[in-house]
Symmetry: C2
Subunit: 419 residues, 2 copies
């Protein structure tokens, strides 16, 4: 078998330059907005001991682990999510940092799922977390950050909505409806699948734990708020984000470790899918064996948001402008006389040292052919080096204007022509 037939694995990603530029656009936006919020970047190991995930991530993720035994006999897994590594790292050095920590991460994650639209086996996740603060102000900060990422991509309130809730609200429901405390986990699991399960099935499940679908529907319609939800909502309104946010009690999020306020960024136009989600996980640090460290965070994956951008014209236009700019060269150096190649190389070097993006004809070619290459490479300018050296010409490939300068003045002349 030749390697040509060794195709990449199903659900894994090959980023050719065009798709890598799309990926980088998403990464740049994530990083840029996180920086504006004063977040610092961290990164954990891609491979971790399987024990880190078995008990904390919940059964769904545990069943999708890429796990194996390494050469040292260790039970290891490609990470399916970032939060357990974060919690370990934050607990280990929590005394060294001023609270709350504002940390973000952009990293590859892996889940053995059936590859389909929006779900691949290898994907990138953007995680933003704030640790060491119990006030609802951090929930509001995180949601504001997520909203700014969305508006940064070009999405408006026509395209997405923030659905806000609090797992603790269901404690109130349980009390009022007389559902026994030990059924809390089961109740939350049923609520999490409210939109994806048939009503008769839901009702049977809910009757089994001492309530009914009618009671649940009545409760969600009440849009009851905990104090935390009210504060978060008001703080988002104060930032001018009120239009994006609504309370939706059916949001409880799937992960086992959430404890309070939870939210979801929801595509309300196309596929009606969650494009980001997160919430409070105040007990995770303690579960991990650390001291008390209240925390909240959210995650956004590159696959779903990438699809959403591609499907939304206003967002796609911003992406396209980025990708086009990423493929442009500032200048292409034309070697009009082979004898002057060493001088042309000197010019190439001078321009690159000035920070300009430059390519040139690596081997002898007719001048017309070199101009063609310059255009194919999306160069804005051509710099022609020929027998007149140290005199060189600069040609604007859009306006066709041409100016003459010398080797000494070439950097300045090009910066002027590009400005």
């Amino acid at each position: 078998m030749s390697i040509k037939e060794v195709q990449s694995l199903p659900g894994f990603r090959e980023f050719y330059p065009e798709s890598c530029a799309v990926r980088n656009y998403i990464f740049d936006m994530w990083r840029n907005v996180a920086h504006r919020y004063g977040f610092a970047e961290w990164e954990g190991p891609v491979l971790e001991p399987t024990d880190l995930y078995r008990r904390k991530s919940g059964d769904e993720i545990a069943g999708q682990l890429f796990c194996f035994e390494d050469k040292g006999g260790r039970d290891v897994s490609l990470r399916p999510e970032l939060t357990p590594s974060l919690a370990r790292m934050a607990v280990a050095k929590q005394r060294e940092y001023k609270k709350p920590l504002r940390w973000f991460e952009i990293g590859a994650c892996f889940r053995y799922e059936k590859p389909q639209k929006g779900r691949l086996r290898e994907f990138y996740q953007f995680n933003c977390d704030m640790l060491g603060e119990s006030a609802p102000a951090i929930d509001a900060e995180l949601i504001a950050l997520a909203i700014d990422v969305m508006t940064g991509f070009g999405f408006t309130k026509e395209h997405f909505a923030v659905r806000l809730s609090d797992r603790n609200i269901w404690k109130r429901f349980m009390q009022e409806a007389g559902v026994p405390e030990e059924n809390e986990t089961t109740l939350l699991q049923i609520i999490d699948k409210l939109e994806r399960t048939r009503p008769d099935v839901l009702d049977t499940q809910l009757q089994a734990i001492g309530t009914s679908l009618a009671a649940v529907q009545e409760f969600t319609a009440s849009k009851a708020e905990t104090e935390a939800v009210t504060t978060v909502r008001q703080q988002l309104e104060a930032r001018g984000f009120g239009d994006f946010v609504s309370v939706d009690l059916s949001i409880v999020r799937g992960l086992a470790y959430y404890t309070g306020v939870v939210f979801e960024i929801f595509d309300c136009q196309g596929d009606m899918r969650a494009v980001a989600g997160g919430g409070r996980y105040d007990n995770l640090a303690k579960l991990i064996g650390g001291s008390d460290m209240p925390a909240a965070g959210f995650a956004m994956g590159d696959v779903v948001i990438g699809n959403f951008i591609e499907e939304t014209p206003v967002a796609k236009a911003k992406l396209d402008a980025y990708v086009k700019a990423a493929s442009e060269l500032d200048a292409y150096v034309i070697v009009a006389s082979e004898e002057r190649r060493p001088d042309a190389l000197g010019i190439v070097q001078k321009l690159r040292s000035a920070g300009l993006r430059v390519d040139f004809a690596l081997t002898a070619a007719k001048v017309g052919k070199q101009f063609q290459s310059a255009e194919q490479r999306n160069a804005r300018l051509a710099v022609i080096v020929g027998d007149e050296f140290p005199e060189v010409s600069i040609k604007n490939l859009t306006t066709r204007e041409e100016v003459k300068t010398t080797s000494d003045g070439v950097v300045e002349a090009i910066q002027h022509a590009l400005a």
Copy 2:
């Protein structure tokens, strides 16, 4: 066992914000220089079929694979290097791109080695490759790019040198010395370890294939050049890089697939180690089952270059300036009156929307305490929002100068104060 005791795996990396900033500094430099050379970024899968590496990477790498069987019964490996994925991807779509391809990648790689200084089990590799061109001009381009990365980090010719050679020169030696052709691979393996093997062992090994250590030493002292090496050297001299480059016939590089010009960036000050290396691999595409596609490339790892930067004061100073800038905030908003918190949140949002990096006191705190937080967070300015709102004050935390402005003028006033 609590997760606290689930430590990260030996040789794997935990990047806390300070070390992540160092990593990002290295990534930014790699990306920036590659862009100046007109290179486009790509990325392949982190997990690949093991067959991709077993026969092409050479025995050393094959023995260090993190390989396992996935849930679908596939024999898979965490990638130990990037070139085989690149070759597969380039062969698959070679008709869609104008030659030569100028592609770079920054990606995590994995090798099961004994963790030690400069060698970890998880590391990042910067790969630059040019495909589809046989002229030595691409070797010169790649070496120039590597040199520009090094000088970008602040290294000078006192710190590093480029050692240049050509595997084909040893064909000439074999002919002259009468070494049979079938011993070529063995000869290259011995040459590769010339500096790390005892002379008597070397001599015995070389006698066994029909030559001697004396003959090899005489040949390397000759600094003989192939035509390709001469062209590369001259083109680097034309760019002003002559001082960095010398011919060293003992350089043949370890990987099995190199076919011609090879080079190494050598730390000539501290640990006398290779910090980058690469060369021609004209046959890899054909080996992979594709058509002929001459190619060359080099790789630089983040661990060795990171150590080298930390150990070299002039490079360390550039790094430190970057890390400091990465931790700075443009402004910290002081909530001087809790009643004005909603207005303060509005100001925070306005500043962030203008692209500024902003933090603030999430919960009620004394003004003095908030100023302390502003300084701990490395904020350049404090913006004080109090009872006088919409009047706000901007205080420069370095010069202690204070100016008054209004909510409407705050963005402009801050941009002015930062300029």
